[in-house]
């Protein structure tokens, strides 16, 4: 915004110039009558006094048009009076010129100018009459001044009013242009004051808040306009205040609940051109919902990529483990074979008289067996087992597994509770594999309850419609299950010692075990996990220390879903080079 000329100084010096010139006329006038001299002094005194007032009035009051034009009006009375009182040669002429110029400049319309000119001519005629010049010998010369004044008034009047019109038109053009820009944008634009009261709003703003013409918005506050979201209105008001405080632009993003839209808001200070203080704040709000949605999508994609990457790393680790396992198995089984053959040889060639020797051979044999079991378990990862996917009666399978675990359950004094939703539940899978899975989980449960006072194993089986995707533990994020589809859930719940969060996060990792050396290899749950995945299922766990653990085995209800996955595994098995 262009800076304005300081009005006070200008007015002060112009008036000083006028008073000096006029005083010169009055004081040095050769024709001035002695009786008028006192009026001349009074005029000079009044004029100087008013200019003294100008010197003491602060600059900002001169931007108030009432004061500014008040002084001009005051001058336009004082000046002609001074000229008239001077009675100097040609003072009539000076007076005449002054009137013409002041009348023309002060008249905004040509018609007013003509009325003013006519009135002035009458006053001037009266003054001439009072002087008595209209009856003298120079009456003709004085009277000719009247049409002269009218002609000059018309001439200047025309020039000035035409120029004013041009100027107005240009201002209007600029204003229209600004208005068009403000209305043509797709942003919500408003101007508010310190109290959040609206001084201006563009059409888009008005329409957005349900006002059909921006006039209806005038005088309302932000809080009134956005009454539906008081917290958002408060937030905007806070930012408006901070613009006043900082005297600088402020930006923030906001969400409109009603329209479900995101906005990027820019609050710019509208400053006083002379002082630089913030007068109002211009608020521009741009709809950035598309961008936010895209960002959200991008973030989701990134998240998915990270998950997929983790999954691939996990698969890669498993494949590497598989390759390593087969190598290890080969390397260890050969010496193991020699140990077995050696044991056979020793057994055939000793006298069997010393029980300690027999006992020692037995220990060697057991150690060899343990090593062999570990190798078999490791091989389960890499081996491309033949498995047959069929529809399996889940409850029957669970009952059979319980029979297999009967001895261990009995030995551990564990009571079993079965809660089957319906006996006719069916799931798709390999019978032996699923049996291995449930037997493993049941054995783990029995082990976990060794030191519990209450030893209860609960087995639940039910069909569930999937309402959300997400796994409590485990590293795979698969899309085996989709929302709305059915899954079979087998829950195996114990009242054992439970697990810490840290342990829960590691239980499916190969070789992770909390059991002592002789009790477990740390491969049981890894194999369970792998089998369930091969059957296009998932496994979750919840556990509370000293309360118990529940495993949730989610499996497919129908064969077709599993078969697709089976193919994928065949491929990956081949690629592992085994």
């Amino acid at each position: 915004m262009a800076t304005q000329i300081p009005r006070k100084r200008t007015i002060f010096f112009i008036r000083l110039m006028v008073v000096i010139t006029t005083a010169y006329f009055i004081l040095l006038s050769p024709v001035a009558g002695k009786e008028l001299e006192i009026y001349g002094y009074i005029f000079i005194a009044v004029y100087l006094m008013t200019n003294l007032i100008v010197a003491y009035i602060p600059e900002k009051y001169f931007h108030d048009n009432r004061i500014f034009y008040g002084f001009i009006l005051c001058d336009s009375i004082l000046l002609p009076a001074g000229i008239y009182f001077s009675g100097y040669i040609g003072s009539d002429l000076y007076l005449m010129f002054f009137f013409i110029i002041s009348l023309t400049t002060m008249s905004s319309r040509f018609g007013y100018l003509m009325i003013n000119t006519f009135l002035f001519c009458l006053i001037y005629l009266w003054l001439l009459h009072e002087k008595g010049v209209l009856t003298g010998p120079k009456a003709g010369a004085y009277l000719i001044q009247i049409p002269f004044i009218i002609v000059i008034a018309i001439f200047y009047g025309y020039l000035i009013t035409t120029r004013l019109k041009d100027k107005d038109m240009r201002i209007n053009e600029v204003r229209q242009r600004y208005e068009q820009v403000v209305q043509a944008t797709d942003v919500l634009m408003s101007i508010v004051d310190r109290d959040g009261k609206l001084k201006f709003a563009n059409d888009i703003f008005a329409r957005f808040y349900g006002y059909h013409e921006d006039k209806r918005l005038a005088g309302l506050t932000i809080a009134q306009v956005n009454a539906e979201d008081a917290s958002e209105a408060d937030k905007l008001l806070d930012y408006v205040q901070s613009v006043y405080q900082k005297n600088d632009m402020v930006r923030y993003e906001s969400y409109n609940k009603k329209h479900n839209l995101w906005f990027a808001n820019t609050l710019g200070p509208i400053r006083d051109p002379s002082t630089g203080d913030v007068l109002d704040v211009c608020v521009i709000s741009k709809d950035i919902t598309d961008r936010i949605e895209k960002e959200k999508k991008l973030n989701n994609t990134v998240e998915l990529l990270i998950k997929t990457r983790d999954q691939l790393i996990q698969q890669d680790k498993m494949a590497a483990l598989g390759r390593m396992a087969s190598g290890i198995a080969h390397e260890i089984r050969n010496p193991l074979e020699i140990i077995y053959m050696g044991i056979d040889y020793l057994e055939n060639n000793i006298a069997h008289q010393d029980p300690q020797i027999d006992g020692s051979i037995e220990k060697i044999y057991k150690a060899a067996n343990r090593a062999d079991n570990i190798i078999n378990n490791i091989l389960s990862f890499s081996r491309k087992s033949e498995y047959k996917i069929t529809q399996i009666p889940v409850c029957q399978l669970l009952d059979n597994t319980l029979v297999l675990a009967n001895q261990a359950l009995h030995k551990g004094h564990v009571t079993v509770k079965r809660e089957y939703e319906t006996e006719s539940l069916e799931a798709a899978g390999d019978y032996n594999m699923l049996e291995q899975v449930f037997l493993n989980l049941i054995n783990n449960a029995i082990d976990a309850m060794k030191e519990s006072t209450e030893k209860r194993l609960t087995i639940r089986a039910s069909g569930k419609i999937i309402s959300e995707i997400g796994y409590k533990t485990g590293y795979r994020y698969t899309d085996f299950f989709r929302i709305g589809e059915k899954k079979i859930v087998v829950e195996i719940s114990d009242t054992g010692k439970g697990m810490s969060k840290d342990v829960q996060s590691k239980i499916f990792e190969p070789f992770f075990t909390t059991k002592s050396v002789n009790e477990g290899t740390g491969l049981g749950l890894s194999i369970v996990h792998m089998i369930i995945e091969r059957l296009s299922g998932t496994i979750d766990v919840t556990s509370e220390e000293n309360k118990g653990t529940t495993f949730y085995v989610n499996i497919q209800p129908q064969i077709k879903k599993v078969v697709a996955e089976e193919g994928q595994y065949d491929k990956s098995d081949q690629s592992s080079g085994y």
């Binding site: 087969s326 193991l336 078999n376 091989l379 081996r383 033949e386």
Partner: protein, 129 residues
């Protein structure tokens, strides 16, 4: 001695061959010859014409399967049954399969106990033990 079964064991594990020879010989039923690589095994098979060949699948010079193929190709050894003894498969896998066979040949997973080995050989040769 003539009714003794002649066994050829081909395996790069020298100590394994040592114990196979000891254990099978001790049973009194077998006469065991040993080769520690594929090439020697093929030569020995042609020379000795054993009743059965115990063959390792994974050997440094010639893989067991190639040794088996060469033996099957040669008229002198074509009819000798071959029993693979391998560390690469698990017992479960072999037992779960439809037969204990890999192609035309028999297969057994390490670790192998002497008793089980003798039973298997007898079963293959159709002799009572």
């Amino acid at each position: 001695m003539t009714n003794q079964i002649k066994v050829l064991a081909i395996d790069d594990e020298v100590d394994f061959c040592y114990f196979i020879k000891k254990n099978l010989t001790q049973s009194g039923l077998f006469d065991v010859v040993v080769a520690n690589n594929g090439a020697d095994g093929i030569k020995l098979a042609r020379k000795e014409k054993p009743d059965i060949i115990l063959l390792d699948l994974f050997m440094p010079d010639i893989p067991g399967e190639d040794v088996a193929a060469e033996l099957k190709d040669h008229p002198a050894t074509a009819d000798i049954p071959i029993l693979y003894i391998t560390a690469l498969a698990s017992n479960d896998e072999i037992v779960e399969g439809e037969s204990n066979k890999m192609g035309d040949n028999y297969i057994m997973a390490k670790p192998v106990r002497t008793k089980k080995l003798i039973e298997t050989i007898m079963k293959i040769l159709g002799q009572s033990y």
